[in-house]
Symmetry: C2
Subunit: 170 residues, 2 copies
Amino acid sequence: MVSRIRPLLLQRDAADLYDAATAFIRIYQFRNRDHALRHGLTVVQAYTLDILLSSGGQSLTGLALALRLDKSTTSRVISGMTQHGLVEWSRPAHDRRAKLIVASPEGRRRYGRLRRAILRDNARLLATYPPPARQAAISILRELVHRATGASRAPSAASREARRTRTQRS
Amino acid sequence: MVSRIRPLLLQRDAADLYDAATAFIRIYQFRNRDHALRHGLTVVQAYTLDILLSSGGQSLTGLALALRLDKSTTSRVISGMTQHGLVEWSRPAHDRRAKLIVASPEGRRRYGRLRRAILRDNARLLATYPPPARQAAISILRELVHRATGASRAPSAASREARRTRTQRS
DNA sequence: TTGTTTAGTTGTCAATGGCAACTATCTTGG
DNA sequence: CCAAGATAGTTGCCATTGACAACTAAACAA
């Protein structure tokens, strides 16, 4: 069916991508976690604020989809963040079951500081690249994200939903 | 200390890298988790097997360092994996406190299947790139990992800080 | 109006992860 | 050799993450 000649090189690149991506993820994940903790946020809280700030506000269900978490987990996350004064919410007039969740000033401040710290790190990381190489790196990451989003879903309902929401958020 | 002219361009690229990396991490993380679960492993178990197989065996402390987990967590992970027949361990003759932990045949099998599944995914992802672009993507990822590893390690200071901050957080 | 669907919450369970306190085994300075 | 310290792992306790199921309340549809 498919060429017997194709594989070897592709196989090797696929393996290299796996190893590189794994390492990348682990490094950045831990780095981001350290940064978040230093600024008094957990990783999930930072993601939540990211989503709230870039979208201007979300329902709990929308948030759960964007975070790819269960509604129940999301509900508890928001409850914790409300207690810590990181988010605020109100009942939209047109649907009194729903919550409209937004970042509080304090949440905005903390996320802003966190983001700036990470950006400083990234700038240091990129500083010695020539700009075209920098942009190449970024656009390749974007491309991989794009492909992975479109392609490899062995779609649980959750993932399908998540994709839909994420797409319309951007 | 550094130039005031510190280019706007760099700022922008740093921000772009942040967004792209964040998206990349989230996508791959969830994809890997789905894959792992489908093959009867958790993410941590998959990483553990990866480390054990590529190193040929580890002490618990070494594993904890590689996984960046606390010894206690690692101990419990290994205990679970032992019960599930994914790893085996022995007491090295020269130190009867220590554990030498290795992957069991079953662990090897499952990890192998998981890895092959992910590689198939990656191959599909890369298939339509021309090989030089593929390799560029990979080497950029590697380079970023390399830089992040060499650079931003202030691990003890970072963790200490993080701990302190977390503690004083109400 | 009466189902039905939708938005969130709560109960329960398991896994993840950290810190502190503990046991058992080396290792070293006298 | 031996007491003191360092190391390797384990366990107790706690908080968070995460899923699933059962639930309440509000909105919607026939």
